[in-house]
């Protein structure tokens, strides 16, 4: 009895200690902390994105509000069936993204490998290599437009001295040369992005791996293929994904150097959206184009991350 009583005491006492139903501030504190940022995100990100989806279903032209009306899927129908510029712009975008991201990755990786070596004035060379990244798009485009200039551009001068061309050329005036010129300008600006991130990743590869490779008799190429590249995989996947989205949406250099011309030869989808919505003030159609771009990028991101099995093997 005594024993049972002794045993029952704690049971009774725990029942008595059960908390009363009262407001628990602790439970809400995390939500209160994230409330300001959530509000900001909802207001400045979700709400504008929502309006883009909403306007994509409307005829919405700010210079002709009296024509505004619900459009249903008309804008999308027009994009895929009537619009003569949608598919050419999509093709230009693909050419632009593939050439930019591919070349930037190759040159960026090369620069990172070089800057990872030990040599004199390495710090200075590293800083100099990252300068293009710090220059604003507008400044870079002014600089490049002067360099490409038909009458006083340094590129013409250089090529003429080297005997590559015999008379001055307007590099931004021809369909092909304009595209190549802008690709070069953007390449110059984009290489440091890959160089910085890949260099940081290179520095985090454990030295033991290289030592082990050396012991196993791997040469430089094999070390690069079986140690360096696999260690960089996650960084490469992530940076290329970011850069693809970035270049897909890029407008500054294209807008300032060629304005999408001549004759739409450098009009990417984003430039086309700017032309329709900003110049043409047709925000309904521009929104529908934006929704299509969003869908393309979303599908690409999902497929890309699946194919590359991002984060499954590296970590």
């Amino acid at each position: 009895m005594n024993l049972r009583q002794e045993l029952e005491v704690p049971a009774v006492s725990t029942e008595k200690k059960k908390p009363l139903k009262k407001f628990k501030i602790d439970k809400w504190i995390p939500y209160l902390f994230i409330l300001p940022s959530t509000l900001m995100i909802v207001t400045f990100l979700f709400y504008p994105i929502g309006t883009v989806f909403y306007y994509s279903l409307q005829h919405y032209d700010i210079s002709a509000p009296f024509y505004n009306a619900f459009a249903g899927l008309d804008n999308f129908k027009k994009i895929f069936t009537e619009d003569k510029l949608f598919f050419p712009s999509l093709l230009t975008t693909l050419k632009w993204v593939v050439s930019e991201v591919g070349l930037q990755l190759i040159f960026g990786l090369t620069a990172a490998l070089l800057l990872n070596q030990k040599f004199k004035f390495r710090g200075m060379v590293r800083s100099a290599a990252f300068i293009p990244w710090a220059i604003s798009g507008v400044l870079a485009s002014v600089m490049w437009s002067l360099m490409f200039n038909e009458h006083m551009g340094v590129i013409n001068d250089l090529f003429m001295r080297l005997g590559i061309i015999s008379e001055s050329k307007a590099w931004l005036a021809g369909s092909t040369s304009a595209f190549i010129s802008v690709v070069i300008a953007e390449l110059w600006r984009g290489i440091p992005f890959f160089a910085i991130t890949l260099l940081a990743s290179l520095q985090s590869i454990p030295e033991e791996l290289y030592e082990a490779a050396k012991v196993d008799g791997a040469n430089r190429v094999k070390t690069f293929l079986y140690v360096t590249l696999p260690s960089l995989k996650n960084t490469i996947v992530l940076t290329t994904l970011l850069r693809v989205i970035w270049e897909f949406n890029n407008v500054d250099l294209l807008f300032n150097l060629t304005g999408g011309g001549p004759a739409h030869s450098t009009t990417t989808l984003t430039m086309y959206i700017a032309e329709q919505a900003v110049h043409g003030s047709n925000f309904g159609y521009g929104s529908a184009l934006t929704v299509v771009v969003f869908a393309i990028l979303l599908v690409f991101a999902i497929i890309y991350l699946r194919i590359t099995r991002y984060d499954r093997e590296g970590n």
């Binding site: 509000l39 032209d61 700010i62 038909e150 009458h151 999408g260 900003v278 110049h279 043409g280 003030s281």
Partner: protein, 447 residues
């Protein structure tokens, strides 16, 4: 876990929408207050916003000086100057009207008036203008034109300057070669060839192939054809035979007698070509006088009218004026009108037009000596005062008019110049865009 997450998102969304709704209801009440606020205390301290549609190092200081003078005369009114770059000014106005966040007063091109009036963005100025003691001095034709082109025939802009498209030429080069400055279109094409000397980096002409090139093209086409109507019985005259003929000759000049980079030329590049001595002739308006004056010697530039049509007539585009408008959202219409009237006064018009080099609309200024001593303004008078001159009127009232020029004509020009499109295809596309816009307009407004 997920339920909690969605509850949080839902709660924050509601809070955000309440926040947004709060904003909108607030702006609604202030809008109401605007319309109710009719009577103004003349001594009340007010601030007006003024938008300039062609800001830059040349014109901004002129407006700033005029605003300074106005503020000295009206110490209770402060004016905030906002300069818009020429190429994006229309888009900025469009966005501000859509957001009901317009300035109090603005410099507005006449061609924008019909659209702004349709969108009910502007304040009718008739009652103010009728009471104004200088009203009789403002160019009656220009005022009547501004009323005629808007849907309700009210006065929405008081023109302070008039412009004209002309050719700027290098008289010294013509003298050097012993050739004639062109008066006819044949002479123009011959001169473009004669003045070209690629070895010395000299070209006879420069084409505006980039932004804004559509205006140049349209004005040249009509000057060549002498066509008075832009739209006849629902059909656009853009693709008529004369225009096809002209553009074939005109685009044949590209690369042969013009710089290769012309295909991407905007206003600045085109003018720079002339002012740096690379080009013998450029089509623009008398408003670029200031730039030429700074870059060249007086005997190195001259304004000549666009060549006459085959039957000897000058052609000019109607409505080539810029006016001062007051926007409906202003809380201080009386003060806004005061500024509008000041900017159209004899002194202000004289100062502005003399600096820029355009034609004043205030008759008192026309008798001033600088007007008589400005050869380029006299050239403009030669065209405007000629009774035979044909004034054609583009469909400014079509809401899509401007966007057709920007998104169909400008890229189309480049397509023709780069050989991707024929002149016929280009003009047919342009004509169709205008006809479609006209049809849509008729269906909506002339039911």
């Amino acid at each position: 876990m997920y339920t909690k997450f969605f509850k949080t998102v839902a709660a924050t969304s509601m809070a955000a929408s309440l926040l947004l709704a709060g904003c909108s209801s607030d702006s609604g009440s202030s809008k109401e207050a605007n319309t109710k606020e009719k009577k103004e205390d003349p001594n009340e301290k007010v601030t007006l916003t003024f938008w300039d549609e062609n800001a830059g190092p040349q014109r901004t200081p002129i407006w700033e000086e005029l605003i300074k003078r106005f503020e000295e005369k009206n110490p209770n009114i402060d004016v905030e100057y906002v300069g818009l770059p020429k190429d994006s000014a229309k888009a900025k106005y469009d966005a501000s009207i859509a957001a009901e966040d317009t300035p109090d007063v603005g410099s507005v091109q006449t061609s924008w008036l019909p659209e702004f009036a349709l969108r009910e963005a502007l304040l009718p100025l008739d009652s103010y203008f009728d009471k104004w003691d200088e009203k009789g001095k403002i160019n009656k034709g220009a005022v009547a034109f501004n009323k005629e082109i808007v849907v309700d025939h009210k006065l929405y802009g008081v023109p302070y300057t008039q412009n004209l498209d002309i050719l700027w030429v290098r008289p010294d080069w013509f003298k050097e070669k012993g050739t004639k400055i062109p008066e006819t279109w044949d002479e123009f094409f011959t001169a473009a060839q004669q003045q070209t000397d690629k070895a010395n980096n000299r070209y006879g002409y420069t084409i505006r192939g980039g932004a804004g090139g559509s205006f140049q093209l349209q004005r040249l086409m009509y000057a060549y054809s002498g066509e008075k109507d832009y739209i006849k019985d629902g059909k656009s005259t853009i693709n008529n035979k004369k225009h096809v003929e002209f553009l074939k000759k005109y685009f044949a000049l590209y690369k042969q007698n013009t710089p290769q980079s012309d295909i991407t030329n905007g206003y600045k590049e085109m003018i720079a070509g002339f002012d740096t001595g690379a080009v013998a002739m450029v089509q623009h308006n008398i408003g670029s006088f200031g730039e030429h004056k700074e870059a060249l010697q007086p005997d190195q530039f001259q304004a000549i009218p666009l060549p006459k049509t085959a039957d000897g007539k000058y052609v000019a585009e109607g409505g080539n004026t810029i006016g001062i408008s007051v926007f409906k959202t202003t809380k201080h219409p009386d003060a806004a009108w005061k500024l509008a009237a000041f900017l159209n006064s004899k002194e202000s018009q004289s100062y502005w037009n003399q600096q820029v080099g355009q034609i004043p609309t205030n008759s008192d200024v026309l008798s001033e000596s600088w007007v008589k001593d400005s050869p380029h303004i006299q050239t403009a008078f030669k065209v405007y005062d000629d009774k035979e001159t044909i004034l054609y009127e583009p469909p400014f009232y079509l809401p899509e008019y401007r966007s057709i020029l920007d998104t169909v004509v400008d890229p189309g020009t480049q397509a023709v110049m780069s050989g991707k499109m024929t002149v016929e295809e280009f003009l047919n596309e342009w004509a169709k865009a205008i006809e479609d816009a006209q049809k849509k307009y008729d269906e909506h407004f002339k039911k």
